[in-house]
């Protein structure tokens, strides 16, 4: 019944641990982890059943506007310290080849990738963790300098898929196979399949995939024939013009927008930019669900901050008008507006 006891202690530790994160109490958080390890709980369970779910909860609290960005950052920092403490406690000697773990350029949520790195380390791999937001050039020059058996690339941002694709191709040109993970490739990895790259839903799954080099290398080619219609390329080149035009439209239709503070204006510009970027990514992988999922998420975020969705709907409508000769983009925008209407009714 050892397993049961461990379960209980992990379960019992979870609220304590979450409290430490809320209090930004690094020492106590590390103490919680050490107590579990002392009690015989396996290191990977501490990482995956304590640190990971707590971090997910941190994200939820931010999304619900219960925690500020600052609190989220502080909690994440403490989680990272705890991961380092767990790694130091176990101190596994690497017996296998090198695996490089990195976050996509622009991906600042390094903890999930860090957890994957530590789980791989526990399985004997010689892991190099390059950290958050790794520029492609840095990753590639690292691969040239130090041989790596494989690269694990993390991204939670679907809008970065086109860049992810370029980064994956760059690694492959160095003859290093790539495994991707994170919500940025779809909850079921469907966009990873579109890019022709193996995807792992979890750290243990990633570790299992790395055990099989042939599976890692035997991947179907990327399926991106739809890019021939140039909708993606045109949208990207028109980004600035689209945002400008949408901003003018919003100012025309909503007087409040004219009175925005500089910070509010920045936020509006960046939201308008996100819409274009997610639309571009949806065009890149030819999957409208990428865009509608983003609209749903944005509606939730704005809803929890009591921002009316009317401006968002107006932006989608305006983009649709400007992009009238891009059939795929227009379709995504229409479905986005439908999703928004549903979210709006549910909120009301």
């Amino acid at each position: 019944m050892t397993a049961a006891t461990q379960d209980t202690s992990l379960e019992a530790a979870y609220p304590d641990y979450l409290h430490c994160l809320a209090e930004a109490d690094e020492h106590s958080a590390i103490e919680v982890a050490h107590r579990l390890l002392d009690g015989g709980v396996a290191a990977d369970r501490v990482l995956l059943d304590l640190v990971a779910p707590a971090q997910a909860e941190v994200g939820e609290r931010w999304a619900r506007n219960e925690w500020s960005v600052a609190q989220e950052h502080a909690a994440t920092h403490i989680s990272e310290r705890v991961v380092a403490a767990v790694a130091a406690y176990v101190d596994v000697r690497p017996t296998r080849a090198r695996i490089v773990v990195a976050c996509m350029d622009g991906e600042w949520h390094a903890l999930p990738a860090r957890l994957v790195a530590e789980v791989l380390r526990l399985r004997g791999w010689d892991v190099t963790f390059l950290g958050a937001s790794v520029p492609a050039a840095h990753l590639v020059s690292y691969l040239h300098r130090y041989d790596a058996y494989a690269v694990a690339l993390a991204s939670a941002l679907p809008m970065r898929l086109p860049h992810a694709h370029r980064m994956i191709e760059a690694c492959r040109r160095s003859d290093v196979p790539v495994l991707v993970g994170g919500r940025g490739f779809g909850v079921d990895g469907r966009w990873a399949r579109r890019l022709g790259v193996p995807w792992a839903p979890s750290a243990p799954a990633a570790a299992d995939l790395f055990d099989d080099e042939r599976a890692l290398r035997a991947v179907p080619p990327a399926d991106l024939v739809h890019l021939a219609d140039d909708e993606y390329a045109s949208l990207v080149s028109r980004r600035g013009e689209l945002i400008d035009s949408a901003l003018a439209e919003l100012a025309r239709r909503f007087p409040a927008v004219r009175d925005h503070s500089p910070a509010q204006l920045d936020a509006t510009v960046s939201d308008l930019g996100y819409i274009v970027d997610f639309l571009a990514a949806a065009l890149y992988v030819d999957d409208g669900s990428l865009f509608t999922e983003f609209i749903e998420w944005l509606a939730t975020i704005l809803g929890s901050r009591e921002v009316p969705v009317a401006t968002m709907d107006a932006s989608l409508e305006h983009y649709g008008r400007l992009l009238h000769d891009f059939p795929r983009a227009v379709g995504h925008l229409q479905r986005g507006r439908a999703v928004l209407a549903v979210a709006n009714r549910q909120a009301a």
């Binding site: 209090e23 930004a24 109490d25 690094e26 020492h27 106590s28 925690w67 500020s68 960005v69 600052a70 609190q71 950052h73 502080a74 994440t76 920092h77 403490i78 350029d105 622009g106 600042w108 958050a132 937001s133 520029p135 492609a136 050039a137 840095h138 590639v140 020059s141 691969l143 040239h144 300098r145 130090y146 041989d147 790596a148 860049h163 040109r173 160095s174 003859d175 290093v176 042939r214 035997a218 600035g240 945002i243 400008d244 901003l247 500089p262 910070a263 920045d266 510009v269 930019g273």
Partner: protein
């Protein structure tokens, strides 16, 4: 292809062909008397029939005429050679099972094309042609195409810069299965040890790669000779040597064909490639040509990879000495840093930061930015940090230390005619008994530091001064402040505030946006704060090009348990509502 070719293939037969003139009526069934063809106005059928045998001899196609019952009525000379079993009165058993009107048949070692054309009165005619040559050419063309496609793939895969080990593994993996069932690459020995990579064809046809090391002295003689560039192209006991080395599965030399090809390097071969095929496989001349063409590309890839590694090894050593060093741990101080050079591949740049412990328990810390970018700038930061490392031992008062640094740099730059200068903030932090920090800062033309107060307010310290390394006796600004436990002082380079972003990528981030982004962040640990600034800057940049970015945060960590103390800080309820402004 032609009737003559067919004759050549079947010597003697052509001469003995005696066309049966009696059967010629076939060609004009209405003419019962062939000799009557000379009648005026009528075509000279009789003459044509007489010439027919000679004409038919040179047609590409042979002709077999069959009656309504399927029995053979006429066989032309060419058809007789191609279908010797076709005899007048017999049946065309060989082709009867062919159903379509045009089909191919392998017959007596030839490839025949047959087409059946229905004639009047239920008769039919088979036209038969020898297309063996066509086939051979098509096969040769296909083989040539597959060879060039293979070499194109090889060029694509090996044309990219790679780590030498990756390149070696890629070479053997690419060789299987096109060139070999087993491919072994042995690289030129380095300090007495030669490394080898081997790819073997798995059950499902994909190559599996493994590798190992051999002492140079234990290399099979053929390999060692070849690595010295002095080997014969064919070695009789090559297979045995490969078996002895344990490279060939099964451990038997029987029925195995092998070839050894050097991979051209800068001077001596970069390595040698052993290719082997088992059970009846052999290497024809064009196979060996292909292996050589492959070896040329593999050699180039390996040489480039080795050259690149040699250079990066040197560059890495130099880079390591120029990278900012993490600040030295000091009592009462929590450090946080962020560093993002403009050239991501280079990893070094013109921004620098650091700290040194002082004998009295305090720390001297600094952050700055030198003129220029890239390697040259990085080298100058190295000189600057070395200077500070030495000078802080003789002078600990920040403004005087900065002046001392200015004089030293001025002397160096004058001597070398470099004309380089720097902006920087240099400070000394001394821990107080209550867990706070006393700060004295000196400014040399750098952006004034920000202080995150416990109230959530962001304060810009009034600090200015002149560039360091330009004029003797520059004006140096100085300011003192106190950090209560949990308060943070932030030093950053202009790569942060001058990051260009916005809708068109032309708007500067600016101090206002930076201060705005720090609102409500006063409870953050210093490393998280430094990373937040890096993140805010990079988000603003949205992957555009940028200048070097550096951040140094120092936070008064308080006593043993700073967080407990922090908890009691008034107003630290952690919400975005706290509005902050720069002073």
């Amino acid at each position: 292809m032609t009737g003559a070719d067919v004759r050549d293939l079947d010597p003697g037969d052509g001469r003995s062909a005696t066309p049966s003139v009696d059967r010629v009526p076939v060609w004009r069934p209405t003419t019962s008397r062939p000799a009557a063809g000379s009648a005026a106005g009528e075509p000279p059928w009789g003459q044509l029939a007489a010439d027919w045998a000679e004409v038919a001899e040179h047609l590409h196609e042979g002709v077999v005429l069959c009656g309504p019952d399927g029995s053979v009525r006429h066989v032309s000379p060419v058809a007789r050679r191609l279908l010797p079993e076709a005899v007048v009165g017999g049946r065309l058993a060989a082709v009867e099972q062919l159903t379509s009107h045009e089909s191919y048949l392998r017959h007596h070692g030839r490839r025949l094309r047959l087409r059946q054309v229905p004639l009047s009165a239920g008769r039919s005619c088979w036209y038969v042609e020898d297309v063996s040559e066509d086939e051979k050419r098509a096969e040769e063309l296909a083989a040539e195409r597959s060879r060039s496609a293979f070499l194109t793939t090889v060029g694509d895969k090996l044309g990219n810069p790679m780590h030498p080990d990756r390149a070696a593994a890629a070479v053997v993996r690419l060789a299987v299965p096109t060139l070999a069932e087993v491919a072994v690459l042995v690289t030129a020995p380095r300090s007495g040890r030669a490394r080898w990579w081997r790819a073997r064809q798995d059950a499902d046809g994909t190559p599996a790669v493994d590798r190992g090391v051999l002492a140079a002295a234990q290399l099979p003689p053929a390999i060692a000779d070849s690595l010295r560039g002095s080997a014969a192209h064919t070695v009789d006991w090559l297979v045995e040597q490969a078996v002895d080395a344990g490279w060939l599965p099964g451990g038997s030399a029987a029925d195995v064909a092998a070839r050894l090809v050097p991979l051209p390097g800068r001077d001596e071969p970069a390595g040698v490639l052993l290719v082997a095929r088992g059970a009846g496989g052999w290497y024809a001349e064009h196979d060996v040509d292909l292996v050589r063409a492959f070896a040329a590309r593999a050699g180039a890839a390996l040489t480039t990879a080795l050259l690149y590694r040699e250079q990066t090894e040197v560059a890495d050593m130099l880079q390591a000495s120029l990278l900012p060093v993490a600040p030295a741990p000091a009592p009462g101080v929590q450090w946080g840093t962020a560093y993002r050079p403009a050239q991501a591949g280079l990893r070094i740049g013109g921004d620098f930061y650091g700290s040194h412990r002082l004998p009295d328990g305090g720390s001297v810390f600094f952050l700055g930015d030198v003129s220029g970018k890239g390697v040259e700038a990085a080298v100058f930061t190295g000189q600057l940090r070395q200077c500070l490392h030495a000078l802080h031992r003789v002078e600990q008062q920040p403004a005087r230390l900065l002046r001392l640094l200015n004089d030293t740099l001025l002397e160096t730059t004058l001597a070398h005619g470099q004309g380089r200068f720097a902006t920087m903030v240099l400070g000394v932090a001394r821990p107080h008994r209550d867990g706070g920090l006393g700060l004295t800062l000196a400014g040399g033309g750098h952006l004034p530091p920000l202080v995150l107060r416990a109230s959530g307010e962001v304060e810009q310290l009034p600090l200015n001064g002149m560039l360091i390394g330009v004029v003797p006796d520059p004006r140096i600004g100085q300011v003192s402040t106190r950090l209560a436990p949990g308060e943070t002082c932030l030093l950053y380079s202009d790569g942060v505030t001058e990051a260009r972003g916005g809708r068109w990528g032309e708007e500067l981030l600016g101090t206002d946006r930076l201060v705005q982004a720090l609102g409500g962040c006063h409870r953050m640990p210093a490393p998280a704060l430094a990373e937040r600034i890096e993140q805010v800057t990079c988000d603003w940049l949205a992957q555009r090009e940028h200048d070097d970015i550096a951040v140094l945060a120092l936070r008064a960590a308080g006593g043993g348990r700073p967080q407990r103390h922090l908890h009691a800080v008034p107003g630290a309820t952690g919400s975005d509502s706290a509005r902050t402004t720069a002073q």
